[in-house]
């Protein structure tokens, strides 16, 4: 029974997945050994970390057990910006074999570095990710994550190769070509952002290609939060099993956590990335099971160790055993980020709430965008929703009713009245990477 869950069609799990099944005591032993090493390394080579440790009167010897991690100072995104570009590196450039950078929506991007060893660890955790999603040697993976400064493309590429799958490095964009490759190359698995895949499904339908009739079996999606309803839509429209994976450039890129066949949370590859949950307001650690902000420590990173990095992602740790047999703890699927929160006229609104309201009315998720403006000192929120074939009618009255229902659902869930605008299909910009849901035009 257990074998079925983590095995795949090739029979037997890939040896790369072995650390997923370490007994708890053995896992904690590995974690502690690596934690002490990485704290020592950061202390010795990263001036900012050393200063903060000294400010707290700490040395690496303060780490006696895993619980002592709570004594250590946090690292936040602005630390990467403030030390731009290379200030947090713990390795000389001679040992750094790769740089990536995040797009950065405001100001400068953040730069991350990898040694040869880091690249190998990354390939390992991504191979474990794909294995957990049911991929194996013989699978043909269309990698539609962007190749380049973004970590998604190359991270997935190395991982799939390490697993022994066949990788098609098609990268993001050029949807017509994606559809051609899907059709012609016998692709069995595809990875990209979930919003791009929804766009791909839409485009395939327009050009008369039914993805359900292709050999495509598995979709591996990450780099942005997506709802369960969006998963149901993808699975029904494309005839795939859709898996959620999690990662962030600051930690390594994709490969921090992945769903397994059970799909009740994402296993954190905690032999390399140690997870904690904290209260985002008080910064106090919370027990497993409590909801809060995810904090990650890279246990084996060489070029750029991250100690207690605040991800801003809101989730909780599931420590109960998983039916798949993996001993790695899980995190619940991430629905929101603490910095996605929009404060409008004193009300806290999350894009995921707006999404839930739109889904409730339409049944599937339409393309939408939230636009914030300020008129005479007062914040205004508009939600633009593309008209879909499902809700479109030749009658004005019917469309007005759809508009009213959408606005009411949002008001009901978020407690705020929005200016709801129906817009023409394909007028909201499609992203080939992460979807940009909120356009803030307020000058605050």
């Amino acid at each position: 029974m257990q074998t079925e869950l983590w095995n795949d069609a090739a029979g037997g799990f890939h040896p790369v997945s072995a650390p997923d099944f370490l007994p708890e005591a053995r896992l904690q032993e590995v974690q502690l050994r690596r934690l002490r090493a990485v704290v020592g390394r950061a202390y010795a080579h990263v001036p900012l970390f050393r200063q903060r440790m000294e400010g707290l009167g700490l040395t690496p010897e303060a780490i006696g057990g895993l619980a002592d991690i709570a004594k250590l100072p946090f690292t936040v995104k602005t630390d990467l910006r403030d030390t731009y570009p290379f200030g947090l590196f713990a390795s000389p450039m001679g040992d750094v074999v790769r740089l990536h950078a995040s797009s950065g929506t405001t100001g400068k991007p953040i730069v991350v570095a990898y040694t040869r060893e880091d690249v190998d660890v990354w390939a390992e955790v991504m191979a474990r990710t794909f294995a957990a999603c049911g991929l194996h040697r013989g699978d043909i993976l269309q990698n539609a994550f962007g190749y380049g400064l973004f970590t998604g493309g190359l991270g997935a590429h190395y991982g799939a190769e390490a697993l022994g799958a066949t990788v098609i490095p098609v990268s993001g964009g050029n949807t017509e070509r994606q559809i051609m490759v899907l059709k012609d190359f016998g692709v069995s698995a595809l990875c990209c952002t979930p919003s791009y895949f929804v766009h791909l499904i839409e485009r395939a339908r327009e050009v008369g290609v039914d993805l359900r009739e292709l050999p495509l079996r598995v979709g591996v999606f990450g780099a942005e939060p997506w709802s369960d309803a969006m998963r149901a839509h993808i699975e029904a429209e494309a005839g795939v099993k859709a898996y959620d994976i999690y990662g962030l450039s600051e930690i390594i890129g994709p490969g921090v956590a992945s769903e397994c066949a059970v799909q009740e949370g994402l296993h954190v590859f905690e032999d390399h990335f140690y997870p904690e949950i904290i209260d985002p307001e008080t910064c106090q650690p919370l027990p497993d099971g409590a909801e809060g902000e995810l904090v990650l420590t890279t246990l084996s990173k060489k070029a750029m160790p991250m100690i207690r990095y605040r991800t801003r992602d809101i989730t909780r740790i599931i420590s109960e055993p998983c039916a798949c047999g993996r001993s790695l703890r899980r995190i619940r699927r991430i629905g929101r980020r603490s910095d996605d929160m929009i404060i409008i006229r004193g009300v806290n609104v999350f894009p995921s709430q707006i999404e839930a309201a739109l889904l409730e009315v339409e049944g599937t998720l339409p393309h939408y965008q939230i636009i914030l403006t300020r008129e005479r000192g007062l914040d205004q929120i508009a939600v633009e929703v593309e008209v879909t074939a499902e809700v479109f009618s030749d009658k004005i009255r019917a469309l007005e009713a759809v508009r009213a229902r959408l606005a009411q659902a949002i008001e009901h869930i978020c407690g705020i009245r929005v200016d709801l605008r129906l817009v023409e299909p394909r007028t909201i910009a499609r992203s080939e990477g992460k979807a940009r849901r909120v356009i803030d035009q307020r000058n605050i």
């Binding site: 327009e206 879909t388 009618s393 030749d394 009658k395 508009r403 129906l422 299909p425 394909r426």
Partner: protein, 145 residues
Amino acid sequence: MKLQQLSLFLENRPGRLGAPLEAIAAEGINLMTLSLADTAQFGILRLIVREWERAKQVLEHAGWVVNLTEVVAVDVPDRPGGLAEVLRVLESAGLNIEYMYAFSLRRGDKAILIFRFEDPDPAIDVLKTAGLHIVDAEELFSHFP
């Protein structure tokens, strides 16, 4: 007896009407008639074309959401009270008109009006029983070159 009408969603801002019309013109598809219903924020463009299947395909391929509805074309006497007579027939049968618009084509002493009913079939029966002439697609398009 029924005509196929295509409807498109348009945002109510300058230039939006031209794009779909150009898209079908580029395919050499001639418009029989159209009607535009609008609110402050959006509008619905309704089109009657002979080659509605091709027009629908062209518009959908270009990204528009296209709705297909059956409507009824009725010959209405082109004199004072002509339309009122037709409406009386529908009213006495308890039939509700969702919307209506005039066809751009006129034939002798008749004007053609397009009616949208929730259910067109009972309306056609009522109109025919009252002696009114329903114009079907073949007859309608035979007037165009």
